[in-house]
Symmetry: D2
Subunit: 282 residues, 4 copies
């Protein structure tokens, strides 16, 4: 994800310093004009803004609160923009800790796969103090196709992103159950998929539906264990607000069953296998 | 639904005899060139094919097996095309009974609201013996935008139609849970809807999502009690094939809760109120 | 079940005429003093009361409304007591049809396995017009350990019986999930069972828990397909009253998954295998 | 809980030093012969064993790893016995940290309310190295009616305790759904409860069933928010082992709905109100 975002920032005329855990991925960007830093802190010590895009909450905590990390290096008044899909609790902690240090914080998670990052087709979901969001508008415009501002509290963007992933997971679960029943009724998945692609008129249905109908779960566009991570984070947020999400719970349970059957590194659309197994048609 | 379908059949050059329980609706079509019959049997006594489009299984049973009804009037060799959303068990019974009488039978349920029927934008999901489906192709072309053939057993089209409605219901349930959590997190439904409309790029998400965000459940495009009827039929089909559909079960339970709260005649997208009530944000 | 009930009726001094589909089972009771009839109708043509105890709704319909059956033979004023576990809809139909014929009707389903029927340890759950229930008291006392009157509408006894079976199924599902998790955590099922037997102090927990911990599902005390039948009937009753029962839905889905994995004729406590399979520990 | 346990330890001849956050509760035990300490560390500095019984994981962490706390005060070779209902992750951390310090650790959570603690009727579920469990046997005998050893890894006792609470919650959920449907069918909860009390022959069913039938949720024997805490911990354990527990998820969602409707401090049996509300019969 990061490479595409960086290249689009460069194209928009921004000076970019990059830190990546595996340095060779960063090196590949030198030709494009970035400077490489040896630590997260080194990457933002003289920056107006730092964007973070890493795998999970733990990784964010390390690069922000660890050694030679962002919190201790980012200049006062500079902005940390977190683009990773993280939990609302961590977003609130980031906001509080940056404020304590005189720094600024925004959440701006994105929808889109690496290809979308490369082609500037990400959807950016931003939240934070309005003047700050506006100030960062050019950065969002540089990396994405469209920016949506969903609230003035940064964690609201994270809640919205988690809910968006949940909407996709709900579609997958529905496909899984429909395909399982239809297979037992003698209707081929591809025949049903064609109807659904036309009915919904959505590339998301067409693309994910094809993965499932083809049972093509490798290579993983989005690994199942990461999908589980996101559903866990959503359920934590829902718990925090005392909002029951029974469908999210159902999805979590099916993702866990998939984990128990060795699907951690398959694409998360393979959660559909759980419904198939349950109906005895795997 | 029927009016639009009839007008499009006339436009395609077919001679149409109409029977409708409330005769005045049928009368309105006389100017368009139809002949009116006094009974279902009267409408098909001299026809090559009869299309039925009624509310539910019971209504189909009445017009097919009741007095002056289709089964006793349809000429041998003529075809009954059932376009209603009915159960797979009834479809199998129709196929068997028509065969016993030397008649033919196809299932061809449709996706689309009355406006789509009027504008020839229905999606037709057909199943039955291939030569029969081919022979009826011109009728499907006359009423719909696209025809999908999903199997050679008529009931397979009914299974596919029920699963299609289930896919929509799954989307509604997901919207309901996401909106409830996001409202408690301070994210307005419309803000999230905008992201989802763009992410999925689907008019179904945009249109239903707007109904839900606006909480505009009257007049009902599709009454909740009819949605419940369809989910019941799907669960019967799933039961028959020993295919568990936990998400369909969850939707059924939420539709029942909606019934218990007086929402039978609201649009079925009002099932989203159940998640809201459960989270205490109605 | 029937044999034990008949013997206890004889012991209490009642004259009994028996009809059983497989006549040899009835023959075995001749030595005990029963008279054998050739049809359900023959068994009750001169009786004050007829008790029916058969497998399911369809069987009740046959012996009541079929040829040489109860409805046409039972004398006016005589009572039909249905002891089978049937649905509330059928109970209401029985009440209405008997009334139309000047006959009486009570529902009196029972809890207990064949051994309990033999040893007069059944629990009788009765409902119907109070004076009628009272009049039949001696019959209930003859076959069971205790009689519970739960309402004045016969179908209420059926609703209560179905809910009682549901309570047992809920316990089984809970055992299944707990055992699956604990096995993965290294706690042997028998160790946990011992705690639960003591905590609940219930023979139902001890006995069913042992079946599950031992994975001893044959011979079936109560076949899984019959358990599924009862949960289906309960969900129909719940639907009729617009009362969502998500746990009953969950159990239905797990029973269906068990059916899909060939467990129809195992004891219904084998539904616990579904949780085990889902966790990958079967 | 603590008072009863302390008094029974004294009765068994043990010397007891007590620390309690609200000192007055500890003072009340002075007459019984305890010595009072000013800190958790002070309570165990010269002890062979320290038993902890507090509200939740956080409280355990404070009294073990906080200032003047147990980890830094307990003599090498002495044993920490955690009797609280805590998560398996914390149990593993406690085991590791005590080992690092040359101390011993056992998990021994208990079933039973304060009255049971007082009357020495607790059920003790213990796990840990066998020789250690045996050495602590006299302490378990002093406080409880019966001790169950479920494994050699301390966290296994915590998993078993969480599963035991889940079994009770499953019973509550089943009661809630059955009562809701039966009320709509006209069967009074108390009538059904009488059947269930006899069928299961369990004081747990009789006692909890009465609370629910009477809708007597105050004062709380066990607050709903604590029940939710335990289900959360169970789901974390289940997640850790990739074991889906859909019934536990359902219970969590219903407890969350209860929280959203202001039931945090009612008895957790009030979770049954969620099914009632959902059916429109609250």
């Amino acid at each position: 994800m990061g490479s595409g975002m960086v290249r689009n920032l460069l194209r928009a005329g921004h000076a970019v310093v990059v830190f990546n855990r595996s340095r060779d991925k960063a090196e590949a960007l030198v030709a494009d004009g970035v400077r490489i830093a040896d630590s997260p802190g080194g990457a933002c010590r003289e920056s107006e803004a730092v964007m973070t895009m890493v795998a999970d909450d733990r990784a964010v905590e390390q690069i922000v609160f660890g050694e030679n990390a962002i919190a201790s290096a980012l200049p006062a008044g500079a902005i940390h923009i977190s683009c990773s899909t993280i939990g609302t609790a961590l977003a609130r902690r980031l906001a509080a800790e940056h404020q304590r240090r005189g720094q600024k914080y925004l959440s701006a998670p994105v929808f889109g796969r690496p290809e979308a990052a490369e082609s500037k087709n990400l959807l950016v979901v931003a939240a934070g103090p309005p003047e700050l969001v506006e100030r960062c508008g050019p950065l969002f415009d540089a990396i994405g196709r469209q920016t949506f501002v969903v609230g003035s509290d940064p964690s609201q963007a994270n809640a919205a992103k988690l809910c968006g992933n949940f909407m996709i997971a709900a579609m997958l679960e529905a496909f899984g159950e429909a395909f399982a029943t239809l297979r037992k009724a003698g209707v081929p998945p591809h025949a049903f998929l064609e109807v659904m692609s036309t009915l919904f008129g959505s590339p998301v249905y067409a693309n994910y539906g094809r993965l499932v109908a083809d049972e093509k779960f490798e290579p993983a566009g989005f690994a199942l264990r990461l999908g589980l991570k996101d559903v866990r984070l959503l359920l934590e947020t829902a718990d925090e607000f005392a909002a029951p999400m029974p469908l999210a719970s159902l999805i979590r349970d099916h993702l866990l069953s998939a984990m128990a059957h060795g699907q951690a590194d398959l694409d998360w659309s393979s959660v559909t296998r759980v419904a198939a197994r349950s109906a005895g048609v795997e």
